[in-house]
């Protein structure tokens, strides 16, 4: 836009034209027989000559009109749909999976509509206003920081792409709030975030369907929020898969696929669900009825598929009925061929452990090696431990000098890390709580288990307490790089230096002990009859551990694009490009063979619920959605320029063709 000097110059143009017109610097001389008649003719024109000249000079009037039109065009007139008052605006635009729903008129997606509305807001900004754009899904992305450049804002707005991620507005709010509130940072992790500009109040426009994670403990401060719900007012028709798993928990039944189907509509629906194995229709269920707002489970029998299975098989579950949100109509899974994990058990002579691992079920799951603790000192162990040959090592009252490159279980001992600490053994130990939500404690009941004495554990950051006694944590699992260490604070059989054995717990006598060991083998040993991992959700990091250590792997996404990864220190690979749902394959670059496949599924009941939330809760504030549509700003200046052009042509025509009015 023009500055003050520009306006002054522009304002001087019409008087200048007038002045030049009166000065008449260039009059063409013409010799005539006599000026007698001409003088007589213009005699009366001398009266009020200025006005007479003005009245007669069509060219001057046209020139003035041209200048005025140009000035008007420079003013950039437009019909402003909504006058934005205030200096700063922050536009938060939801780009999560649910924004891809096409429930708006003329099949527009919610994101497209939101972008359109933000564009209108940008158009209606004053020249002095500044705005920023933040897009968010499960993470926030500051697309454009504060600027007055409207075309830049619009360009950045257009760059916002649809994602298949979940939605979490908190990070976006944090970014916005850091710029609007004094003393806050938009990046909690960084200590170098220095506030360079004064924190000013800003209007915060949130364009979302409201399907966002709850934001607790957040104060908007100087932000004046305005929530613009995006989506159809009527609850759109959507039936989607919110969970999909393949398991064979019950040996009698065999392999089964389970799915959870959610109907977020306010009407009952019946859908056709089809299960594809290796892209071939395996099973289907017609007219699967789901009531309005309800979720129903559905299962498919996959019995017999595991027999003779040598490579992984992709499984796809599809809802055949189309709706406005196609993303949750498909779910992917993988059936891996049976694989045994390698478990090393270092124990003196624990008959219970030996007994448990003799069972058929665990034999199927794992190849177990029993060794005395002295085995730790052998080169064989050290090599194997470094190479990550074992999937899991169980240390029964012993500990290695250096932690192996695999998951570990410590029974009555501690990992060689300062992060793990144990108190003196305390008597008696009463188990008061177990975390049954953790896979390792799945189906484990400890109520009737006696433990004589146990140490209380403190572990590394991120440790999960699995079992707690009256005095503290007695079993916990904590991370170590890409591995996990399970520490049990009490031994089952204590060995004295003389070789005497004392039973410290009657846990092995209970059913929960073999179940626990099975969970350990499955959870920490990676042993299962098949890999039933549900993979991950779009946008999440995927930790890939190859069967054999390798120098690089290639990950191929469902579209066919590949990316090569290098191993981290713990020989695992991290893949961060799982942006869309589908089946990803990992290829070992050394052997050029497929190492594994993993599915990426939406599986988010919040994203599958397309009902537009009328209000948005942010911390203790409830923001009521304003559904008013933003009238489009109409720009008139291009028309003015067009008229200018027309006037110019007319002027030229009049000058050259001697047209008179």
């Amino acid at each position: 836009m023009l500055g003050p000097i520009g306006w002054i110059i522009l304002g001087l143009v019409p008087p200048l034209i007038l002045m030049l017109y009166f000065l008449k610097l260039r009059r063409t001389p013409l010799e005539v027989p006599s000026t007698y008649l001409w003088t007589k003719t213009i005699e009366d024109l001398h009266v009020n000559s200025i006005w007479q000249r003005l009245r007669n000079s069509l060219l001057l009037l046209l020139q003035l009109l041209l200048a005025l039109l140009l000035i008007l065009a420079c003013l950039g007139p437009g019909c402003q749909g909504q006058k934005l008052s205030g200096d700063r605006f922050i536009h938060l635009i939801d780009q999560s999976a649910s924004m891809s729903a096409t429930d708006l008129p003329n099949g527009q997606t919610r994101l497209e509509f939101a972008k359109q509305e933000v564009a209108k807001l940008i158009d209606s900004m004053d020249s002095e206003d500044t705005a920023m754009i933040i897009s968010f899904s499960d993470r926030a992305n500051v697309k454009q920081s504060y600027t007055r450049n409207r075309s830049l804002l619009k360009r950045k707005l257009a760059e916002i792409k649809q994602t298949q991620r979940g939605s979490d507005i908190s990070e976006a709010l944090l970014a916005a709030s850091g710029l609007a509130n004094p003393g806050r940072t938009s990046d909690r992790e960084s200590e170098r975030d220095v506030q360079v500009a004064d924190a000013l109040a800003a209007r915060l426009f949130i364009f979302s369907d409201g399907a966002v994670k709850e934001v607790a403990n957040f104060s908007l401060g100087n932000l004046v929020p305005e929530y613009r719900p995006v989506g159809a007012f009527d609850i759109p028709n959507n039936v989607g898969i919110t969970a999909f798993a393949i398991s064979d928990d019950l040996d009698t039944v065999g392999l089964q696929a389970f799915a959870q189907i959610q109907n977020s509509d306010d009407e009952n629906h019946s859908v056709d669900v089809e299960l594809y194995v290796n892209d071939e229709l395996h099973d289907l269920q017609d007219d699967f009825e789901i009531e309005a707002g309800d979720t129903r489970g559905i299962s498919f029998d996959l019995g017999g598929l595991l027999d003779g299975l040598e490579s992984s098989v992709p499984v796809r579950l599809e809802i055949k009925d189309s709706d406005v949100y196609s993303l949750d109509n498909v779910a992917y899974g993988i059936i891996e061929p049976p694989s045994q994990s390698r478990v090393l058990i270092l124990t003196r002579n624990n008959p219970y452990l030996q007994f448990v691992f003799e069972t058929d079920r665990l034999k199927k799951l794992a190849e177990v090696e029993f060794k005395e603790p002295d085995f730790l000192k052998t080169k064989e162990y050290q090599d194997n431990a470094i190479l990550g040959i074992y999937d899991c090592v169980i240390f029964d009252q012993c500990a290695p000098e250096k932690m192996p490159e695999c998951n570990t279980v410590f029974i009555g001992s501690l990992p060689t890390s300062e992060e793990w600490q144990a108190s003196e053994k305390q008597f008696p130990t009463l188990v008061v709580d177990t975390d049954n939500s953790h896979p390792l404690m799945y189906n484990i009941q400890m109520g009737n288990v006696l433990i004589i004495e146990s140490s209380q554990l403190t572990g590394p950051k991120g440790m999960v307490a699995l079992m707690e006694s009256t005095s503290g944590t007695i079993m916990g699992v904590g991370p170590r790089g890409g591995f996990e260490d399970l520490v049990i604070g009490f031994p089952i059989i204590e060995y004295s230096d003389q070789g005497d054995e004392t039973h410290n717990s009657d846990w092995p006598n209970h059913l929960s002990f073999p179940l626990f060991m099975q969970n350990v083998v499955i959870g920490l040993g990676g042993g299962s009859r098949f890999d039933s991992t549900q993979g991950t959700q779009p946008g999440k990091l995927v930790n890939i551990k190859t069967r054999m250590p390798t120098s690089s792997v290639e990950v191929r996404d469902p579209v066919g694009d590949t990316i090569e990864l290098r191993p981290r220190a713990d020989r695992s690979f991290v893949y961060g490009n799982a942006e869309s749902t589908g089946i990803y394959s990992v290829i070992d670059k050394e052997s050029e063979l497929q190492d594994q496949v993993f599915p990426v599924n939406l599986m988010d009941s919040r994203e599958s619920n397309l009902a537009v939330r009328e209000n948005l809760e942010i911390g203790y504030d409830e923001i009521i959605g304003s559904v008013e549509s933003i009238p489009e700003t109409k720009q008139y200046w291009p028309w003015l320029v067009l008229i200018c052009l027309f006037v110019l042509i007319m002027e030229w025509f009049i000058y050259n063709r001697r047209v008179f009015i």
């Binding site: 063409t28 001389p29 007698y36 001409w38 213009i42």
Partner: protein
Amino acid sequence: MSKVLGGISESKKNEPLLAPELLSQLERLELVSRKIFRGRMKGERRSKRKGQSVEFADFRNYVAGDDLRFIDWNMYARLDKLFLKLFMEEEDLHFYALIDGSSSMEFGDPNKFHYAKQLAAALGYIGLCRADRVKVELLDASPTSDAPVLRGKANLWRMLQYLEGLQSGNNCTLNEAMKSFALRNSGKGILVLITDLMDKSGYESALRYLVARNLDVYLIHVLSQPEIDPDINGDLRLLDCEDGDEAEISVSQRLIDRYRQTLATYIEQAREFCARRGIVYMMTSTERPVDRLVSRYLRQRGLVR
């Protein structure tokens, strides 16, 4: 370097004053005067003066000194009174053609001065054919004039030679020129004044001199087409070719209309002035051919027949 309104055509300037085919056409015509003037010599037309022609005019009483040859003796025999028998006298006619030689006459295509010379030659030739006294001269304020007085068809070449030799650029006022003419010429007759009337001092007093001389005056107002319908545009500084006067105009349709109106008023005023004083006024454009002007328009006005 200024442009010139209408331009000057050299080719038209070099055209002969009288085309041979026009000569034969003109020979059939004669100049007509609405008044009967007394000529100096016997001519071919009836004079106001009673003379010796065969045509009887009147009787009058004899007074001492009258020529006895004209006494009507038959009348004396019958009435015993002396009467003189009067006959009509046939005389020649004075024909004056006055050409405006001011610079403004040099404009137009064909140029007004040339047109005026052509017209004067044509009318002069008619007069020569009818043995009238023809005098063609340039408007001039000087007390003497070298213009020859011609009579008889044989003097055509002298007249043309004299006309060819005339040069424009004599910017005297119409008033001065007329005054000078009136002083120099006492003879009565027909006077054709060929001018563009572009005289800032006015034409009225000039014409009064002629009216006072009791001449049969014809005023032929010659204008070029660009003067009648100016084809100009833009912002102009008009330069008067005679006195260098300037007029700044910005051409618009309104101005052009106003000019046309002014011209029409000017012509109308001149026509009215002339009509009131018995002067025959006629406006012509240089685009109207001289032969058509003479054979049709001047015939209608009664100058020729």
